[in-house]
Assembly symmetry: D3
Homo-oligomer: 252 residues x 6
């Protein structure tokens, strides 16, 4: 069930039987010569929508823009400052808590979001932990799950690409985005075949100096729609395991 | 052309021949008994994507969450504080300006966003106007356009619904959202047929007191997918007129 | 009754019989060759003080600086960023709510404030709507009323100036400011007689390029003190109607 | 010369011959049984306007609301948080610097503003001092001057009231405000004659517990309009000395 | 007792018998040719630790970085913006209040911190004073005490150095820091012997222009470890008096 | 070389031959029954000071308070919100960049800081990456290194404690803090011997519910001063390797 396609009464009904929600979060940033700017949002959204189709779980609106400052030297990249993204996540979670949601599960498609999303969780919890008025705030469970880091997905990427998988603009994410958006497949040659590796801890100008076409250690010319279908299946299973474990938190 | 489906090189090429972009902006908020929580994002997105399909204009990622504090007493509504949304728009525009965009056109689906988006524009311009270092910042044109307020759309709504159109959860927006998402059509009876009218200038509890099922002055049971198709056509024409006029700004 | 001229006990007494307050809000910005930098504050202050003299209504301190970033290329203009003005209004309203005020009516003299003031209202309401601790916050009614937009004022401006009224540094506001501050009347020739028209949605440098002497579409050489007296009378009546209607909110 | 009563061309002319400005800053807060809520703004405004009448010095718009959190348990008091007031002063000074002002002199009427105004100066200077791009920002001189702390004013208060002057809602400030606003004189008995003394470093509830009628160590029943006239004369001389010394800064 | 060297159970026990804490706060900034960058943190820390050794009082972690924007043109100086330091102190005090501390006593070593720390206190109190939900927040006492301004310290500095004490990088603070850190004594000649005097109300470039080697009006070549020992003794006594008086607040 | 014990001229000299700095960062938070509240600051400080003693590397002032919201239900814990800590690190790095430092290496003692420190790095880089004025900002290298995560330290902890090492209030960190502060060794029995394990992703109340005496999966009764000496030696070597590799960044 997609929150965007539900009425408020349908959400009200859902809250009678559940209090968890999955929110896809990605980024709008360059993904090398043949990867889509929306890759990091499209991938977790595709996985989350499939989960919403198979199971009785609500899927919230995709946060399409993330923390991508290091990609800003490539046209089309859009970035929120960490402080801005923290405010967005705080308001989003606070809105959901008001309705009675107790488990908010962010399904993430962008490594560059991880620190900021975790800092946002700490900011949200700080508001509760710094209260001294003796009022209990009730339970709030927050999770960040990376679709690309589950065991089935990792294994599949290793078996298909080995060391050519790399760290950014990888064949696995390009494949999944193509499966989700077959109308946007690109045919672009890579040179060198495998991009240079290194750290992304730097500003945008330095990043482009280190990684001239945007890829990090990857060869996304290996991407295939049919691979994407297999990544989708693997990610759906990995994520469902993680989500169910997350729902169990606080139940012991 | 959708930015989310483009590579960075495709955006680089686009910037050789154009410097404008359309960004859909909506809200995630209750839309009465038969309207989707995503209505205000789905409508401008649908119009913008059609423009991107017909014309050589880039369409950015949809901002699906807006300023919807007054709807928060209805489950599923998610709101950003005005200060948060201002930060989001500031970072988005700043990212685009870095790439060379000079005309950013927000196509809006939510009346509640108007004040905050205009305040965000003023915040962005303030950063330039308060500089005293003598450096020119270059031209920056920002526009907010409401898909529901163009002349063809207004006329169509009047001819189809007259006074039953109302102000929130209107038959026109519900029709357009159903046209864009036919899988999400709902069949719900309205009681009373036309909802009470009044001001939305209040907090969430007071809003729900004033408008018990979320509608404001509307009868969205009149909504039809085929109406939505006509609204889409009208809005595409209205918006294209507005966008071309906007591009002309600063060219005299 | 002016709050600035009252003791706290007098305000305490007032709150026994009323819970509304009028707060003039303006701007400090260029108003063309013969208009005062304080025009936008002086006009609503003059109207509000007359209301306070005639009726049992408390008038708060004038907010003399507003959002005027687009005027900053003209010497003497002072602007608050929207985020700053939002904070000012939030703290002002919060202070008043603490004392028991339930209806805060901002009488505005500057079109450029409108978006930011409405965003400030939404920011204030967001603080209440995002609470999830089940505590009722009590009613809070906020209104923004433009002295220059009431029916009697509009009609008078039309009858006196027709199309020469324009959009900024208008003869109507200059007349009213001169009536309120006769010691500050200026005699300056206008060239061209009617200033160019256009949009003020831009930064300060661009604004000055579009509107070289600061006027927008107006001929303020038509201004007269005696016109100002008539605008004062019309605005007092328009505003009193609006204020009484506002007080009725929430009483049904 | 009052900035509020000048045109932008008059300010442009002034900047040809001077680059200093005086800005009155006060507070809106209880001043005991017979003192006006606006006392702290009215007093420095009255002194500054007289300076503007006598000398070729520009006087900016009065900042009528200050940092008055400790007075909020008394009806009518309005307070800005320190962080808000810092933003207001930062934007005000930044606006003036854009026009070429180099010496901004705040004439203050409220002890509770002192720490925050000095913190605001440090915030403004921090923006310049933390720059590392090698660009010189040009000279900027900022001063905070308390009208009530000059030598002539101190001496006069001592000679008129001795120990009954006290620390808040003093006879000296009440006298000056009455001189400036004779229509607002109040006749109220004090009990006890001299209010209790103590520290104002506390929150609003605690302040009211310590100082039940709002006065701190004072007997403002001694206030007289004719005293106010003498305080005005003394403050005008004290302030003019201070302002001229301030203008000399950076000239050595 | 040092909080940093205690377990949480030891603090829990302490809170059974006391609710006050001393927190040293300083700065990291140039202190002229022979003064340590850490002088302003080392001095109050040394005094506070001695108090913690002699008396049953808890001493919190030293805030080593303060507001030092004017010193940033000298290598090694580190400064927090006032707005940042306000947030640090707000979070620190809020954490302590949660545990039951009611008296927080900042022992300060840096004149440049005074305005910002007092503004931080006002920001903290504002959060309580602006509440309108009728909930009492309980007593909170905050004090700022400068180790260098107590009567015994002032007298000792006068007797040892007279006018050569000066205002920054003084012989008294250098002596105390050397007593606390004898391994860091420097032997540097001063030229001129007594540094120029003036105001530090300016940005970093201007400060360095006014005070070329960083000293203000002082001759720190007079510093001696044995003087430092006497300053330590004097400051311990001055501070203990001040702390005990502070604890008495609210007990009447 | 400790920055706190250096003069500004000594730092100026250092910058002639180096441009890197090590800054210890920790937390003030409960560390179970026998661990010090200052453990997380004391450990990296001890390692950094030893590095500063052995090598020509500057060590900045320790940031003793970190992000510790989850520990706030244990007396003595002090936490900065992520947004506050981000501001502190931004100002600290900006100060250092002004002086010419290009490599800032944070030596961290607290797992709870990791997300926020990385978000702070992204916030700092965002300021550079979002600039569109074509000015190069110069290279800036930022690193976060956890003393407890180096290979020698990991191996030593495994060999000494195996599974009893745990995740918070570990024997390794308690041992190192005791080595650094032998006067603060505590003798406290543990019950149960090994604390429960789990996630710290929650607010303070929930954390205390999960981990009643503050430990996570550890048995710190195994701590010994002599172990601490070995951890210090291992961490010094691990960190020096990491620091030298970091300095090499950008040199290729």
């Amino acid at each position: 069930m997609k929150l965007q396609h539900a009425t408020w009464q349908e959400v009200e009904d859902y809250l009678q039987r559940a209090s968890g929600i999955i929110i896809p979060i990605g980024s709008t940033e360059q993904h090398g010569p043949n990867g889509l700017l929306g890759t990091d949002a499209i991938c977790p959204e595709s996985v989350a929508w499939e989960l919403g189709a198979r199971h009785d779980v609500l899927v919230g609106p995709t946060q399409s823009i993330g923390m991508a400052q290091h990609h800003l030297a490539f046209p089309g990249s859009i970035s929120l400052r960490p402080s801005t993204l923290i405010a967005v996540l705080r308001d989003t979670v606070t809105s959901l808590v008001r309705h009675g949601f107790t488990h908010v599960f962010f399904l993430n498609g962008h490594g560059g979001n991880i620190a900021t999303v975790n800092a946002a969780f700490a900011e949200i919890y700080s508001g509760r932990s710094l209260r001294s008025d003796g009022q209990s705030s009730g339970a709030l469970h927050l999770a960040l799950n990376n679709w690309f880091a589950g065991p089935r997905v990792r294994e599949l990427a290793q078996s298909l690409y080995g060391d050519a998988e790399g760290g950014h603009a990888t064949a696995s994410e390009v494949s999944l985005s193509w499966f989700a958006r077959p109308e946007a497949v690109k045919d672009v040659a890579m040179s060198p075949r495998i991009a240079p590796s290194g750290s992304a801890q730097c500003d945008a100008e330095e990043f482009r100096r280190r990684f001239p076409d945007g890829r990090m250690g990857s060869d996304p010319s290996l991407s295939r729609i049919e691979h994407g279908e297999r990544f989708q299946a693997a990610a759906v299973e990995d994520t469902w395991d993680a989500y169910r474990a997350f729902l169990g938190e606080g139940l012991q």
